[in-house]
């Protein structure tokens, strides 16, 4: 993380192009980290939701969707309170690492994870629900325990849904703004992401700069998405 950049003198109004590259880098890191962690956590959760007959299924499923109904800025506000030194998460992190989560990259990842979770579990749950129970029985009859059944059968069966869910989570993290603004603190090189750089330009009426970032982001995303989605051939 190029922390030195933040110490530099601020030149005129709009941050320069280097700043955008830096923000793009932070954004990519954030989205990758968030997606990677979600790809570990979400599939088991989605599988549990899709298969369990527990009475807790519906409440838990509702809970994973909850981050959706709060505006991200408000979510961010509450996360900020939780992640500050005085909050539960921040206090914990402070005690362990000597720094609260707020205004750090790690905090940003945590916040994005919470907010993007429904976009990853949602498609996965929908896909998992369609799993042919007969195949699971077949695997069990061969001696495969539930865990390897999940890893060796369910995940490969739904690899397309996994890719699609990962893309959704990734894209959403890239576009995420409210939470990042609230708990990130716009620190160049650490928590200043593209969406904020873009927002800054709109705020300062630098429309040319805004168009450039938005256009670049869209063009790049379109390319990457198209490329990724090619894999999902029927």
């Amino acid at each position: 993380m190029r922390r030195r950049a933040s110490k530099q003198r601020v030149t005129a109004s709009v941050p320069a192009g280097a700043d955008v590259l830096e923000a793009a880098w932070v954004t990519a890191l954030l989205a990758l980290a968030t997606t990677a962690i979600l790809l570990v956590l979400a599939p088991p959760l989605a599988w549990w939701i899709a298969r369990t007959r527990s009475k807790w299924r519906a409440p838990v499923e509702a809970l994973t969707a909850l981050p959706l109904v709060l505006p991200p800025t408000v979510m961010g506000f509450y996360l900020l309170i939780a992640m500050a030194r005085s909050g539960p998460l921040g206090g914990l992190a402070d005690a362990i690492f000597g720094a609260p989560l707020a205004f750090t990259f790690a905090g940003l990842v945590l916040g994005s994870m919470i907010y993007s979770l429904p976009f990853v579990t949602g498609p996965l749950t929908s896909a998992f629900r369609g799993t042919d129970a007969q195949l699971l029985e077949a695997a069990a009859s061969l001696g495969t325990a539930p865990m390897p059944r999940f890893l060796r059968l369910v995940l490969p069966l739904h690899r397309k849904a996994l890719v699609a869910a990962a893309v959704l989570g990734f894209a959403h993290t890239v576009g995420e703004f409210g939470i990042v603004l609230m708990i990130g603190g716009n620190i160049p090189g650490e928590t200043r992401v593209l969406s904020i750089a873009l927002f800054d330009r709109v705020e300062t009426l630098d429309y040319a700069g805004a168009h450039a970032i938005a256009g670049g982001l869209l063009a790049f995303s379109l390319l990457v998405l198209t490329f990724t989605y090619r894999w999902l051939r029927p």
Binding site: E137, A140, S141, A145, L153, L157
Partner: protein, 362 residues
Amino acid sequence: MQLRVRGEVVRGSFALRADLDLALEGVAALVGASGAGKSTWLRLVAGFEPDAPALVEVDGERWQAPRQRAMPAHARSVSTVFQEPRLFPHLNARRNLEFAVHAGKREGTRLAFDEVVAALDLAPLLALYPHQLSGGQRQRVALGRALLAPAKLWLFDEPMSALDAQSRREIAPYLHGLCQRHAVPIVYVSHSLPEVLAVADQVLLAADGQVALVDSVSAFSTSFAEPLSGDDPGAVIHCRFQAFDARYRLSELAFGDAKLYVPGDLSAAGPEIALFIPARDVSLSTSSVHHVSILNRVDGEIEALRERGDSVLARVRCDADQGEAECLLARITHRSVDELGLAAGVRVQALIKSVAVRTGDV
């Protein structure tokens, strides 16, 4: 293998009661009409009815009991061929088979990959995905996959229903051999009584919501019972191998003091050979017959006649008594009954046109 299955499986308005306590050995056929509960019984044993209030014990190990947590299917040393192939659609045939090889660490016989592939002729199919296989090919791969999983018991639910006769004829002896070599019993579901009477060491009958062991396959086969109405009945006869006549390619089998001649070399089939003799292949004669291509003639006495559809079944007790009375069934017309004056107690010669050997035509 000692198997005990007691209790009930309820599925909607259908309930299946099992009350079995038997020593499984070799091939146990599970027969019954469509919808009688054969697959349901297999599911219970394999562990897919964990909530059924039933007891399942194998060699003293309790797999399931009412009001107890059932042992999960994957931990039971049972490998099942389901009625549908259930291949994993995202894996080609080879990877489907390998899935079974690496499936888990439970106890049981493990067969060699190459041996199974060779025996079921799967080599040309290994690279193909399930949707590229024909119905029969899928079934063969599914059978191979089940064989490759570690198991102490095999449950086969109509594993060859989509195969042509040639494939069956090749695969059936292999299964039978496996079952002997590795001492892994097979429960083999079929809805065709003649098919299974020809191979089964034991017969389980699913009927009227019950699954029960048939006491003696021989007695059952000639009992006039109509468990699978419409099926061609027949008799199961136990013989000793005597000699193989290489010139005529005939095996000579002894049956009491009578002799039976069966095409093919049966010297490898073991000293004790069970034969299935379909009733429709047995004719009766009241005098000795000559100049006929029917080699097998057995003297005996009609024990009973029973009308069956438009014809008559005759049970003939063979003179060649070996302690246990061996009987044959013959299907004859009403007119023959009249013309030959057939009735209980009449002495006849049974002319046996063809004979199926147990390890042969499944």
